[in-house]
Structures are given as structure tokens and as C-alpha cells.
């Protein structure tokens, strides 16, 4: 029984922290938040050089074949840096391809994806559908797909889209194929670019029908997102604690007042709880598949609530300055809130937890 990361995992964490701190200082994040594309080719090339684009791709397909724990480590650091990057959307699509791609799809895409030469993303939510992450009304017929998907992350920068459809299957659609129209949407979180994707009889190539493997991929995706939220919340908490030490009112640092210090203690409780669950879910995905669905939904439900509460609480500690555009805190709050609603919100995942526990 040991909750510590291995030496290799610690090295990945250290590298990620150093690299992201150097590459994504606050003014860079702010610039990218205001930019339509939201990342540069140079930044993407560097991620590929670190091997991150190949992280979840099996070695046989040209990747590193690392596990969910390593993905959790990197995602937590990306959240901490609030790095605007298509890394997550690309990893989500890659996980689905690895899980259920046909041989032809794998050999066509996994190599370029692993090397960072191609990017993929995932188109899940229907324009007029519900928001349950496992239901779509998009009908495929005769190898063609007609649908409008919303809130598709980083679609304009993707070469290939993995699209969820009504038959419970996922389809691979080329982003520049005829019948595919990608339009920028205004996103709550400006550090992650969202697009609507309108498909009009677009050529769609189904992934294999592998519900268990697809399920495992989704559990990995929500765990990775929960881990990202842990990093976001950790950073917001650090900002609040540091501000509470410096800011003086009535002649004392505001952190000396229990109304403020107890709020900060509550942040720690929630950040550490979210972290414990995300690490456990990562571990379960790699080593205890029977517990993975439960662990992933627990991690996502808890992080969804904690991420918003901690960033909102940090804003309260900052008082007026925290509500200004000039202060960085709002980017953290927006990321946490957007993450809370992606791939199943807290309520959806709690219902999963109840179901899995036989309630």
C-alpha cells in the first residue's frame, strides 16, 4: 500500500511543472485566451517532443503506451498552469481510437497522432439533444452522418473528429471532408476553444463496436478532466492563500480572520479530496479495472463541485480585485466551471455512482 508516485511518474510531474511554468506564464495564457486559435504550432511541437502526444498510444502503434496515472499527472499540471492547448481534446479522441479504432483507422491515424503530426478531437453533444454524455441522436445512414454538434473543443485545429451517434457508435470524420462545417462558438472558458460542427451527409467511418473498451476510454477521459480540475483548484487556492497573507484590512492580514482562514481550510479539504479520488481513479484504470467506472465517476463528480467551489471561494477571498478582468482568477473559475459540465456533470456522475453501488 503506497500512495506515492513512482520515480518515473515524479520525473514526469517535475518536467511538466518546469516546462509549463516556463512556457505558460500568466501573460501568455492571457494572450492565448484572446486568440482565435488558442495555441501556436511551436507550443504543439514542444508537447510532441516531450512525448505527450504519444502518451496514451500503445508502443506498437508508435506511442509511449503509458498509463492513466501518467495522464493524470500531466493533466493536473496542465490545469495548474491553465495552459491553453488542444492536448486534452486530442488525448480524448486518441483514447477512443486506441480503444475501438479498426485496424485501418489505427494504422492511418495513431502514428501521426503519437508524433503530433495530426490532431483529433471529440464531438459529443447534439445541438438539440440532452446533455447526457452517453446519448446522441445523430443518425448515421449509408456511411454518411448528419448532425450538429456543439461545444466541440479545438475542432478548427483538428484533422479528424470522433463523432458520437445515436446507434451508440462512434464515427471517424475527416475535419476537412465535404459536408463538414466548423464554426467558432463563444466559450465560457476562453482558454479552451469551442466550436460547433455541422455535418451534412459527411462521410463517416464507424469505429468498432466495443462498448467495454469505449467505456474504459470514457472513464479515462473523465478521470483526466477531473485531474485537470484538481490542478486548476490547487492554483486558485494558492492564489487565495497568498493574497490572504498579503492583503491587509483593519490593520491585519485578512488571513488572520477566521471567516477568511476557515474558507481557505475548506478549499484545502476539497482540493485534497478531489486529488485523492483522481489519483485513485487513475490507478484503478491501470490496475483494478473492476473499480474503474466507480472511481472515475466519483472523481469527476467530486472535482466538478470542488473545482467550482474552490475557485469561487478564492474569488471571494480576493474581494473586488478578483472580479476584474485584469486579475487572472476568472480564467481559473471559468475553466473549473466549464470542466464541471463537460463529459457528465456532478449530478450525472453521482447517479452513476448510485447505480454502480446498487442503490
Amino acid at each position: 500500500m503506497n500512495f506515492d508516485f513512482t520515480d518515473d511518474q515524479r520525473a514526469i510531474k517535475r518536467t511538466a511543472r518546469e516546462f509549463l511554468t516556463a512556457r505558460y506564464p500568466a501573460d501568455t495564457v492571457r494572450t492565448l485566451a484572446g486568440d482565435d486559435r488558442g495555441f501556436t504550432d511551436e507550443q504543439w511541437r514542444e508537447l510532441a517532443e516531450l512525448g505527450w502526444t504519444g502518451l496514451v498510444v500503445p508502443e506498437a502503434d508508435g506511442g509511449l503506451g503509458l498509463g492513466a496515472v501518467e495522464l493524470v499527472v500531466i493533466q493536473e499540471e496542465l490545469g495548474y498552469a491553465l495552459a491553453p492547448t488542444p492536448f486534452f481534446s486530442n488525448v480524448a479522441a486518441t483514447l477512443l481510437l486506441v480503444a475501438a479504432g479498426t485496424d485501418a483507422q489505427r494504422s492511418r491515424w495513431l502514428g501521426p497522432l503519437a508524433r503530433g503530426e495530426a490532431r483529433a478531437t471529440i464531438a459529443l453533444w447534439d445541438e438539440h439533444g440532452g446533455w447526457s454524455p452517453d446519448v446522441s441522436e445523430a443518425e448515421a445512414s449509408g456511411g454518411k452522418l448528419t448532425a450538429t454538434k456543439i461545444a466541440v473543443p479545438d475542432a478548427a485545429a483538428a484533422d479528424v473528429l470522433i463523432v458520437a451517434a445515436a446507434d451508440g457508435r462512434h464515427y471517424l470524420v475527416g475535419a476537412s471532408s465535404p459536408g463538414v462545417r466548423i464554426e467558432a462558438e463563444r466559450a465560457l472558458d476562453p482558454t479552451r476553444k469551442l466550436f460547433s460542427v455541422a455535418l451534412d451527409r459527411a462521410a463517416a467511418d464507424p469505429l468498432a463496436l466495443e462498448p467495454a473498451r469505449i467505456g474504459h476510454a470514457y472513464h479515462t477521459i473523465v478521470t483526466a478532466l477531473a485531474a485537470e480540475t484538481v490542478g486548476v483548484a490547487q492554483r486558485a487556492m494558492e492564489m487565495a492563500v497568498s493574497y490572504a497573507k498579503d492583503r491587509k484590512q483593519f490593520g491585519r492580514p485578512i488571513g488572520a480572520y477566521q471567516a477568511v482562514s476557515h474558507r481557505c481550510a475548506q478549499m484545502l479539504l476539497e482540493v485534497e479530496g478531489a486529488r485523492s479520488l483522481a489519483y485513485w481513479a487513475g490507478w484503478a484504470l491501470d490496475h483494478e479495472p473492476g473499480a474503474a467506472a466507480r472511481a472515475a465517476s466519483m472523481a469527476k463528480a467530486y472535482a466538478s463541485d470542488a473545482g467550482f467551489r474552490v475557485t469561487a471561494s478564492a474569488m471571494q477571498v480576493h474581494g473586488g480585485i478578483g472580479f476584474t478582468w485584469e486579475h487572472d482568477l476568472h480564467f481559473f473559475l471559468k475553466r473549473a466551471k466549464a470542466n464541471a459540465h463537460a463529459f457528465g456533470d456532478a449530478r450525472w456522475h453521482r447517479e452513476r455512482v448510485a447505480e454502480l453501488a446498487g442503490v
Binding site: 513512482t6 492563500v241 488572520a256 482562514s261 485534497e272 453521482r350 442503490v359
Partner: protein, 385 residues
């Protein structure tokens, strides 16, 4: 990262499980005296089997268990729904304090009868005017030759009615700063100068007592850790209280939660749903409790990993007791809600649990004090004083 038990740890667990199964003492009888006698027999049985004082070094009659084995022990004892031992405070707090701060003579004198339950221990820390501010205690000890004469009042002393020894924190130097003027005594309860009165709590039972001390005598050699060093020794006792509790508590929550889910499945709902377990709001709250219970378990293990690595629990270690009290209170509140109008009746175990849980955020360090500790020592925020 490896969240499985090693072969040695599994062997430890299996040996304990097998022993618990083979030595099931049956149900606890009702009534204070009968219950105490039953728990004393149970502890003697544990001791004979080598399962009393598992954390204690073998040279003092313990098992010398690793931290993980101690965690497993606390989990398994609760999982087996084994009774409490008669000498909970001696085993979990008094013994470890004497081992850490006592002289070799004190260790040989006091430790064996703790293990055998021949001498029961109680804890005389809190006073009517000294709750969270423990260092302000007023119970006064004055030296007369080789003896100290002690006068004062203590409160919340569990097991005082059965105890031979009281871990007593008293002021030995009224002129020293408040943390410096305290000493830690082992007071013989078997004297007329010490009067024990049961303290009836909101559940109607008397789990605790008040202690009235009027010129009680304590030999000088019964000071633990040296005169004037009582604060540091008391902190050791409190650390042991919090550290050993976490694993047992989280398993207790898991068991209560399983029972609550059963209750929800068999209780008619007030809404369109047939049973409470089909009501979406109840499902949400049960799921949240399942998640929080998992956090309790994981944080306890993370704290253990940090302790093994650094010698002290990590930040998550200071969160456990506070978080547990939140969770246990929510759990019992949900049970009342599920009960509907029957919640007005004191007809089952859940009424007791609901009322008893109100103390969870007060006993063993109030939630407010624990938040102060987290804010000041973990987050480094300025002290409020």
C-alpha cells in the same frame, strides 16, 4: 503508486480475520456493569491472542505492527463489528504516551496492566472553563514533599467510573506562561478526594463523567515527561487519539452507509417514487456520501504514506477528523429525512446515531479548532491571536 496490500500485509489481515472469526464474543449485554465486564473479557481474549496493543513495541508486550498493519487492524476490528475494548484510552493514548515520554520504571509499572485490562485508564484534560483552549486549565497541583496535592474539576472523562488511572493535566506553576506551567500526572482514581459523577448527554445516556478533585494526592514519581512539560506530553496523547481513529472511523462510515442504503430501499418515499432509494434527490445524496466515504478512506491512506515517508502525516492527515464529522453528520441527517414522519419517533438506532453525531464536530478537537490548525500549520496563514 500501489494501492494493493503486500503479501505480508495480506497475511496479517487474513490472520486477524481468521482470529476474529474464531473468537467472536457474541453480542454485548445491556447495562453499564455487564457491558464493562464483557468488554474486559473481550480485551483479555484479544491480549491472549496477541491482538492487544498492536502498535506497541514487542518489548512492552505489544505486537510491533507497522503503520499499515495498524491501519488494517483498525479497519478489520470495525468490519468484524467487534466490541470495544474495556481499556480504549489506555491502549490508544495512555500506553503510547508512557512509551514515548515515560521512564523505564513507569513503562514497566503501567504498561502490562493496560494490556490485560487489569487497570483501566481515563483522560482528565478538558475542564468547564478549558475546552478548545486546553492550555488554560485551572486544576492546580501544589507540591508537598514527595507528593502533589491536586484540586480542580475535569469534564468529559470517559470511563472514569471504571478507571484506576487518570491522565491528568494540571497547572504546577501558576507564574509560568500558560503552556509552560503544566505537568502531566497519572492520578490514582482510587481515593476519596476524587469524585466521579455521570454526565448525561443529549442521547439520555451517560458516556462521559465529571470529575471533582479535592486535594487528591499524587506521588511526584507519577509525573510523565518531567515537571512543567505537560503540554508536550498532552499533545502526544492527542496526536495518538487522532492518528489511530481515522481508519476505524472511515470503515464505520462505510458500514453505516451500507445500512442506510438498505433503509432507503425498504422505506416508502414521500414522493412519486415508490421507495426512498428511487427518489432522485435521495439517490444524489447517497451517492455524495459514498464519494465522501471514499475520500475518507483514500485520505487516510495518503496520510499514512506521507507518515511513512516523512515521519509526519501530510496535509490530508489533519483533515480526516474534521471531514469525518461532516460526513457522519450528513449521513445521520439523511437517515432522519428518509424516515419521514417516523423521524419524530425515537424508535430505532438511527435516532441515537443522529443525536450522537452532533458531538462529532465537537469531541476530540472542534471543527473550528481543526480549521485553525489547517489554516495556520498547513496553509501558513497568520495566527489569529
Amino acid at each position: 503508486m500501489d494501492l494493493t496490500l503486500s503479501p505480508n500485509e495480506l497475511a496479517f489481515r487474513d490472520e486477524l480475520r481468521a482470529w476474529l472469526q474464531a473468537n467472536d464474543p457474541g453480542r454485548e449485554p445491556a447495562g453499564d456493569e455487564a457491558e464493562f465486564a464483557f468488554r474486559r473479557e473481550w480485551q483479555r481474549s484479544l491480549h491472549a491472542g496477541g491482538w492487544a496493543g498492536v502498535s506497541w513495541p514487542t518489548e512492552y508486550g505489544g505486537r510491533g505492527a507497522t503503520l499499515i498493519e495498524q491501519a488494517i487492524y483498525n479497519e478489520e476490528i470495525v468490519r468484524a463489528k467487534a466490541p470495544q475494548t474495556a481499556n480504549v484510552l489506555g491502549l490508544a493514548m495512555g500506553g503510547p504516551t508512557v512509551i514515548a515520554h515515560g521512564t523505564e520504571e513507569q513503562r514497566h509499572r503501567y504498561l502490562p496492566p493496560i494490556l490485560s485490562a487489569d487497570e483501566i485508564w481515563c483522560q482528565g484534560f478538558s475542564e468547564p472553563d478549558s475546552g478548545s483552549d486546553l492550555a488554560s486549565v485551572n486544576t492546580r497541583a501544589t507540591r508537598h514533599g514527595d507528593e502533589w496535592v491536586v484540586t480542580g474539576q475535569k469534564v468529559w472523562t470517559t470511563f472514569a467510573q471504571h478507571a484506576k488511572w487518570c491522565m491528568l493535566v494540571a497547572r504546577t506553576d501558576a507564574d509560568a506562561p500558560k503552556h509552560k506551567g503544566l505537568s502531566y500526572f497519572l492520578m490514582d482514581m482510587d481515593q476519596d478526594a476524587v469524585q466521579v459523577r455521570p454526565l448525561v448527554q443529549i442521547t439520555g445516556e451517560a458516556e462521559f463523567n465529571e470529575l471533582f478533585i479535592e486535594e487528591a494526592r499524587i506521588p511526584h514519581e507519577n509525573i510523565v515527561g518531567g515537571e512543567g512539560n505537560g503540554w508536550a506530553v498532552a499533545i502526544t496523547t492527542l496526536m495518538h487519539e487522532r492518528a489511530t481513529l481515522a481508519f476505524g472511523l472511515q470503515v464505520r462510515v462505510q458500514i453505516a452507509l451500507a445500512e442506510l442504503i438498505e433503509k432507503a430501499r425498504s422505506t416508502r418515499a414521500s414522493t412519486a417514487a415508490h421507495f426512498a432509494s428511487e427518489d432522485p434527490v435521495v439517490r444524489q445524496r447517497l451517492a455524495q456520501l459514498l464519494i465522501e466515504a471514499e475520500v475518507l478512506r483514500l485520505n487516510a491512506y495518503r496520510g499514512l504514506t506521507a507518515t511513512m515517508r516523512d515521519g509526519v502525516p501530510g496535509p490530508e492527515g489533519s483533515l480526516g477528523k474534521w471531514h469525518w464529522s461532516d460526513v457522519n453528520q450528513s449521513l445521520t441527517e439523511l437517515a432522519m429525512e428518509i424516515a419521514g414522519p417516523r423521524a419524530m419517533l425515537a424508535e430505532d438506532e438511527w435516532t441515537y446515531r443522529f443525536l450522537r453525531a452532533r458531538a462529532n464536530s465537537i469531541e476530540g478537537g472542534t471543527t473550528e479548532i481543526l480549521k485553525n490548525i489547517v489554516a495556520e500549520r498547513v496553509l501558513g496563514l497568520p495566527r489569529m491571536r
